[in-house]
Symmetry: D4
Subunit: 253 residues, 8 copies
Amino acid sequence: MHNEKTLQLLKLVADGVVTPDEAMLSLRNAPFEDLGYAKVDHHRALRQGRAEVIYGEGKTQEQILGIVESLHAAGNDNILITRLNESAAIWLAHRTQLDYRAVARIGIAYPRPVEGVGNIVVATGGTSDIPVAEEAALTAEVLGSNVTRLYDVGVSGIHRLLANTDKLMAARVVIAVAGMEGALASVLGGLTDCPLIAVPTSVGYGASFGGIAALLAMLNSCASGSSVVNIDNGFGAGYMAYMVFASYFAHKL
Amino acid sequence: MHNEKTLQLLKLVADGVVTPDEAMLSLRNAPFEDLGYAKVDHHRALRQGRAEVIYGEGKTQEQILGIVESLHAAGNDNILITRLNESAAIWLAHRTQLDYRAVARIGIAYPRPVEGVGNIVVATGGTSDIPVAEEAALTAEVLGSNVTRLYDVGVSGIHRLLANTDKLMAARVVIAVAGMEGALASVLGGLTDCPLIAVPTSVGYGASFGGIAALLAMLNSCASGSSVVNIDNGFGAGYMAYMVFASYFAHKL
Amino acid sequence: MHNEKTLQLLKLVADGVVTPDEAMLSLRNAPFEDLGYAKVDHHRALRQGRAEVIYGEGKTQEQILGIVESLHAAGNDNILITRLNESAAIWLAHRTQLDYRAVARIGIAYPRPVEGVGNIVVATGGTSDIPVAEEAALTAEVLGSNVTRLYDVGVSGIHRLLANTDKLMAARVVIAVAGMEGALASVLGGLTDCPLIAVPTSVGYGASFGGIAALLAMLNSCASGSSVVNIDNGFGAGYMAYMVFASYFAHKL
Amino acid sequence: MHNEKTLQLLKLVADGVVTPDEAMLSLRNAPFEDLGYAKVDHHRALRQGRAEVIYGEGKTQEQILGIVESLHAAGNDNILITRLNESAAIWLAHRTQLDYRAVARIGIAYPRPVEGVGNIVVATGGTSDIPVAEEAALTAEVLGSNVTRLYDVGVSGIHRLLANTDKLMAARVVIAVAGMEGALASVLGGLTDCPLIAVPTSVGYGASFGGIAALLAMLNSCASGSSVVNIDNGFGAGYMAYMVFASYFAHKL
Amino acid sequence: MHNEKTLQLLKLVADGVVTPDEAMLSLRNAPFEDLGYAKVDHHRALRQGRAEVIYGEGKTQEQILGIVESLHAAGNDNILITRLNESAAIWLAHRTQLDYRAVARIGIAYPRPVEGVGNIVVATGGTSDIPVAEEAALTAEVLGSNVTRLYDVGVSGIHRLLANTDKLMAARVVIAVAGMEGALASVLGGLTDCPLIAVPTSVGYGASFGGIAALLAMLNSCASGSSVVNIDNGFGAGYMAYMVFASYFAHKL
Amino acid sequence: MHNEKTLQLLKLVADGVVTPDEAMLSLRNAPFEDLGYAKVDHHRALRQGRAEVIYGEGKTQEQILGIVESLHAAGNDNILITRLNESAAIWLAHRTQLDYRAVARIGIAYPRPVEGVGNIVVATGGTSDIPVAEEAALTAEVLGSNVTRLYDVGVSGIHRLLANTDKLMAARVVIAVAGMEGALASVLGGLTDCPLIAVPTSVGYGASFGGIAALLAMLNSCASGSSVVNIDNGFGAGYMAYMVFASYFAHKL
Amino acid sequence: MHNEKTLQLLKLVADGVVTPDEAMLSLRNAPFEDLGYAKVDHHRALRQGRAEVIYGEGKTQEQILGIVESLHAAGNDNILITRLNESAAIWLAHRTQLDYRAVARIGIAYPRPVEGVGNIVVATGGTSDIPVAEEAALTAEVLGSNVTRLYDVGVSGIHRLLANTDKLMAARVVIAVAGMEGALASVLGGLTDCPLIAVPTSVGYGASFGGIAALLAMLNSCASGSSVVNIDNGFGAGYMAYMVFASYFAHKL
Amino acid sequence: MHNEKTLQLLKLVADGVVTPDEAMLSLRNAPFEDLGYAKVDHHRALRQGRAEVIYGEGKTQEQILGIVESLHAAGNDNILITRLNESAAIWLAHRTQLDYRAVARIGIAYPRPVEGVGNIVVATGGTSDIPVAEEAALTAEVLGSNVTRLYDVGVSGIHRLLANTDKLMAARVVIAVAGMEGALASVLGGLTDCPLIAVPTSVGYGASFGGIAALLAMLNSCASGSSVVNIDNGFGAGYMAYMVFASYFAHKL
């Protein structure tokens, strides 16, 4: 990895500035901080252009705070904390800078304004899918994307969707968030000419099996140019959508 | 069951025309013929207004012929044989009157013209769903329904469907036949104002799991007024659709 | 869609009464109201002859009230709210006209008497299936159907079912509600001569897998003329049953 | 195990007839013959009153013949070979005494007449279930039971079943063999007053999932006094049914 | 059904004592009481030699009491109520005669001593399987069977099982109750010479999937003469075991 | 849809050039050709910038040829036919211009050179995943993308992957193709800074369940910025990857 | 089993010191204590070199105490109690000597220092996997192994893992604990040259299905020399790892 | 990785013998050979003490030959090829040195005698499990282990297993190979005091679901010290068992 730094180091070894053993140590010394319960990845900003995102579920508030401060100390801000419950958010807000969005269950530590690029349409099949959609929308916005929200446009009243064709045609990435039968993804895929990321949600009952029905429908979508993330994984869709833009702006293709 | 006949019989007993033991025997003597390998149900025509349908799979051609002739001898014609493979059809055609439709794999023994009532639209998502759709359409036609076919109108090119809105609005029953993600049912359900019967097909690959994806999608359809039959069960959908009309015409409601 | 209105509009354009741009706007202006969290479909009454039904689960009481009032303002009453829990019902009852049926968890906003047509038999396998059956029965009644209830007639005591053969023979649509092994649907299907809608329920334990056993049994029913809705989806069955009648009365076939 | 023999052996040791080391060897020397590929269990006749049954699938014809002759040499006849395909049967018939029943795919090596006890009714839902039913019936007959066959009495034409109530009432054990929705078991269970063994078959298509639908239905049967064997396991049902009688006759309870 | 009563009735018709219409009514008038929420089956005692058992789960305590009193009024006692939670048991105990067994969650209304026949061994793999085993044991005892309990004899310490070989050899029916990998059934099946009923339990975690692992293992048992009931269905196993004896004693075979 | 054309048409109506009825007809007349068995979507090129792709499986060679010629007549070339078996390819090659790639089972009708943009890395876990990878690579190339192939770099020999870090860092989109445990996607996701599309393959045996293991692993990937397509759906991944570029070049963002 | 003791016993019989009946009794008298609810296996220490481990879940605290004291009375200490919840631990700590480790939910009754042998690396993919990893680590340590912990080294930041290659190369057994996509096992398997035991955890959401995704990935690992235990079964992995050493030290191979 | 070589290289750089750029190249130049369709891992012998094993399924015979010769040229022999079908084996045998074992479907290229260490018992439940067991046994033998075979000792005739207790007690690793209910693993686990590796096989029918029943049973085994490999993965078990010894002998612990 990061070849230039390695080459530089090797040159220092050749010049006698660094001994082979020191170089060996340095090559080993990966840029992460070991907090015991977590190895915070400071390398990721170099490797992927973005700081590590903290998945809040299954971590104590103390652990989350520790990782936040470790990342911030390493020069990061606008640090995303996903699946952050309200009581942990309140606890954190007393100890660090935190912007908390309850519907999306997202916390943004050390928030700073970010200018968005691109144009992502986030659409939902129903009202109950909104929390997952907001997780996707906020993730993309905090990372630096423009987002258009289009909620409750499920296929059983397709004129609600067709009435927004202009918004869909203007999108560069579409995120389709739907539970139950997940048909929204297929219909949207046929109406747009850009990458579509489908997010199945666990909205439904009985044979929706906690989102399996929507997941399978989206994986089998007859619309070309679509792909799928995990059930309720709004974050993953938002991050993927952002990456489509990041890939371009970083590389000036 | 069949109360009038029972009452009649009881009256004959009261009149001394029939002895109790004879009546007992007669009550027992259910109107089916025992062929050994099958008990042909001559009662069904009384009970359900239609002769028994023969499910061809898993029966030898000799068994099928035996059941056909038993039903015909009891006064039935236009006898439906579903899942009838071509070689068995050829064998049967040499031994009885048979009209065989290869795409639908349906045989009609002792065929006679039947005037159709009602208006059923049979729609498919793709070209590969046509055999199942034809099984549905032919079943409904032979039983006595009018059918409009609307094939390859899948949701990823929704204008193909919208261009046929008039046909859909004229339908009294809609049969939606689709594999893969099965979204056709939901979209059709939102565009029509009549009962919709969804038929998942095994068309697809990978995570379609032989039709499970479409089945689940259809069971979870957010469109009101729809129900689902077994995977690839065109016959079941056609029969159910026919029954909607039969129910009315028989009872002059 | 709705071609007559379009043709009318086009004539007004031809007559110069309406400018092309105004017509464009009008064609776009789909008949739904955007509440932000929901796009209330006022179009449905035209399209399907019935106002939108509100699925209560996953919506806040404020959202439900907002949709109710939007629909009522557009001229609808007898508005169905399904999966409405008791506390939300109490809250709503203080703010709008609401008739709440606790067993079926159904609320009827702005209730008005409705004359029923047709004849639907709703049967259950056991006592525990009654809530789902009531959801089906009430849905059909509110929409305008006559319903006969036949509860606890499971197949392990088949004489309880046979003793009601007359009610079954008089039915125009049968709804079979059963959990566990779901055999009721097959037996009823063999005893009746009208469309049968099977509703698997989540009643059972162990290998009933929350209704999967009953769902599979019903999908595989050897009785012709039956179809299936989602697990515990009493509403779907009631709506489908109503549509069988609505289809006829609306169109005077 | 087999305590009497052990006690006898210990007495011989006490009497000095057998040395401790010889006794040790003898205790070890379990009554099976090691053919390399199989350890033929001659002990089972003592332990369970019946010689080992040979499951033919996955064994070469040479292996089957070896086991047959080993069992016969140990004094067994009427040796059951299940899942025996026709070509292996022909090969075996040239080398040993074999009675082969093709429908049930059962071979009986060294057949001898056996007088039956008890009364087992074997019923099937349809014609396609007959091979599995015959495996059950023949197994029970060869082991020494009386069997009454009642084929094609599926629940969608329940009068065919009710017409045979007398046979059902006379049964001491009922075996219900059915595929598709497997409802036969529940209905039979409600009509009889003896143990019922349900055999799901792989007959069906689509959501029957190779017999899973029938298996689940049978496991969830609301009829008391029933239990289930593996899909298509006619042998298991026949053996279990036979054991109900064997248990009594052997022990003169 | 019950042919003698029918023949008698028909004779009365022949004698003019009963009119045909009265007979018709009587034939219809099945021996059950309709409580609205339940159709109590008084016919079952005639049909199956045992009163209906009440499945307590999903019924209110008022409904249970109603069914108990209806059955008792019809001449039944020793009425089994399964899956009866403690609070409902306390409520019932104040209003009727009830013997409640907390571990098995079984209530016995109007209890009376019953003399047992036969010999059933109920064995468990571990300590956690005891509640299900007790449901089986108590069911069999109340119905009139002798039961030997053999708990915590799982196969990972097989000497605990072998030390009880004498008890197993004396059994006429064995009930094997086990969760996790369910191997107990196979090992017991090889050690005994009587029918074996396997009860998978939901004891376990992870890939036990709530009892599926044990269920599948038991269905695939390589031991002949075994069958399986639903997960945690101790009642079903106890009832089936009792029926093996009842079948004999009732019929004096 | 396609608002400009509609506005134009409305203006013609206003100008009296087109009558309302003609306009009505024209609005209806969707740009697809109905071949009976298929409705060829000539609209898609306008709507999505690409002609329809033909999914070869489940279509006869005559149907495929018909669709190819219909598309070509409408001005398309470089028409992709996926899942095209060899014998159909040979048949087609005699009747139209066809470039067939056997490993990927892709046919390109009326092929013409296309200049690629972007940079897609297609990586596989093993040798057996190559056919799916080639379907992805060829799809992207024919649509107009540059592709770098990196085959057999599975994670159990991770140095093979690390040795190609430079290629990965240069990628603008990565397609990870892997069967068995599908871990390649997670590892690649951590090494790259661009969108990753994961393709599970059906390579494997036993508990790979035809690709389910890889599919689930990929859906649960802990690497941010990845999404998943259907099992073995190389085409879908290639199309999605191409769309990332197409989205940019078409819109000059 | 335990042949030497049997031979000794037989010699005593031969010498007349022990009568055959006494010997019979002794052979039967297996070394377990029957507490009614549990048969405590004192034999296991002889048979497997380790006292029985108590699985705490599904046992009352009284039962656990009873088993602990029975084992201790038989000469065991360092008795492991797994899946012991905190309240039961507190109750036990007042009644016996108990060392409780809350994260791992493990109790050690009658703890004594134990010198470790071998070298086990326990690695986790993330922070949330630590409780399962601790169960594994503590189990191995209490049984007498040396353990190195390596937590939060998931594959999406593979440099964190590569930075610890020296620890991995020094391991004699590796335990890989991971949820979500479970890819850690495959990557570790490729980096080490010793047996690897994979523990899937239930960490994750949506299509992780409570650990199934990780379980399947680990079963399909392309890395040679790995095997898998049940989901969240840290104990099983720790015990298996310990056995690798125990096997050697006990037998001086 | 392989630190010594890196340190050596760095020293050469410090000495000026190697330039930084050459070192960079060398660090990159991982020890694998790229055959296009495969990257042959010559590094593995260093990393894991064993040459790469060739998984034959899904590779052409030409590809297999290419990999064999590449490995042999790098100094390896006794090269294992698993899942090698007979026709490919014959083709290979004409072009390279090959020892083919048909039952296990294993080829050994450039075979040479290898002295075994350790003591592995490979046991099967039945005759049909032998091919999988042979794959395990041969793998372990070729890698350098001693193997004892114990076939057809399934738990339904447990005396066949108990008669071999001495062999089990002498084992250092036990491999339990069983299909159907997979109970062999649990019983063996209780009888031995060494690591146990369980291999579920696809032997069985119906609810064995191609080995899932055995897999789940083995994952849930109540015997401590066992772990599981993929269905039919004899190779994986043999390799894991060998590694237990290799780990010791390589490190002289």
